[in-house]
């Protein structure tokens, strides 16, 4: 990766990451986050981790972000209004984040560079190399991951399930409001038709 290409991609990643936290509409934030994830996938591929780069693009930028989009649409979240309060709190948060970045940059600058750039083998980053590591040295962690996913599926369904008791109480006001608005819409329409006639 040449220097100017790195600069271009890093600028793109930083600008889109800033877009995630600066956009007021959650859908726009999500689009900026997808750009950041895709640029990171390009970085992974450029660093030799080809399989992980494609997994990032497919799973992270594809599946997980679609999940976010579904939730935003399901809850019908609109762009939030500009909040007047919490200005001191927000500036403190930004200052704390800037301090953290300065600290991390100092650590990254002080880190001893590797003795010499290790020349990676031709098989570095291929799916065979990754699978060999996953199913030998990391086998127990891999199986624990499958258990984690199962628990997450059951937990998500149990959390998002509507409780039967609450549904019976919530359904009747909703139906009542629908019928009320239906009457409200129809009544002026009828009078308007009567007036035009």
């Amino acid at each position: 990766m040449t220097a100017w290409l790195f600069g271009f991609l890093a600028t793109l990643a930083l600008v889109s990451a800033l877009g995630v936290i600066l956009q007021r509409n959650p859908v726009h934030s999500l689009m900026a986050l997808i750009v950041t994830l895709l640029v990171t996938a390009v970085f992974f591929i450029a660093l030799g981790a080809v399989t992980i780069g494609f997994l990032q693009a497919i799973i992270y930028a594809g599946a997980i972000m679609v999940l976010f989009l579904f939730v935003i649409w399901l809850l019908n979240i609109q762009a939030e209004e500009r909040e007047a309060g919490h200005l001191a709190l927000k500036s403190f948060g930004a200052l704390a984040a800037a301090a953290l970045v300065a600290e991390l940059l100092a650590i990254a600058g002080r880190a001893p560079a590797p003795e010499a750039a290790v020349k990676p083998s031709p098989a570095y980053g291929t799916i065979a190399t990754l699978a060999a590591a996953l199913f030998s040295h990391y086998l127990i962690a891999f199986e624990a991951t499958s258990l984690l996913l199962l628990v997450a599926i059951v937990g998500a369904v149990a959390l998002a399930r509507r409780m039967p008791r609450r549904r019976s109480t919530a359904a009747s006001p909703a139906a009542a409001s629908v019928s009320a608005t239906g009457q409200d819409v129809s009544a002026p329409e009828v009078s308007r038709r009567a007036a035009s006639a």
Partner: protein, 100 residues
């Protein structure tokens, strides 16, 4: 090939932006997105370090991080939906049910 410390610097900046998003924004969904941003920055550091050491372990850890992020997003968004049913808002300041 650019020096590996440049990639670390980019990773640190992305992580800081994620921290800033969690601290500054009050929309719960954008806060979860900022958490994903931080996980992503850590992934970048893992891959860069694995490349500089010629080791596959960094990529394996990134694989696990992506899996855990999927589980975290599913459970977190389920919690958001569950709270939204009763509170009708996505503002984190309104979630005070467990406040002492």
């Amino acid at each position: 090939m650019v020096p590996i410390s440049y990639v670390f610097g980019l990773s640190a900046a992305l992580f800081g932006i994620g921290v800033c998003g969690v601290l500054v924004r009050r929309n719960i969904i954008v806060m979860i997105m900022s958490i994903e941003l931080m996980l992503n920055a850590a992934n970048l550091a893992f891959v860069a370090l694995g490349r500089s050491l010629g080791s596959t372990d960094g990529q394996v850890i990134v694989f696990f991080v992506i899996t855990v992020a999927a589980a975290e997003a599913a459970v977190g968004l389920a919690i958001v939906i569950s709270i939204f049913r009763s509170r009708e808002t996505a503002n984190a300041d309104e979630f005070n049910l467990m406040r002492w």
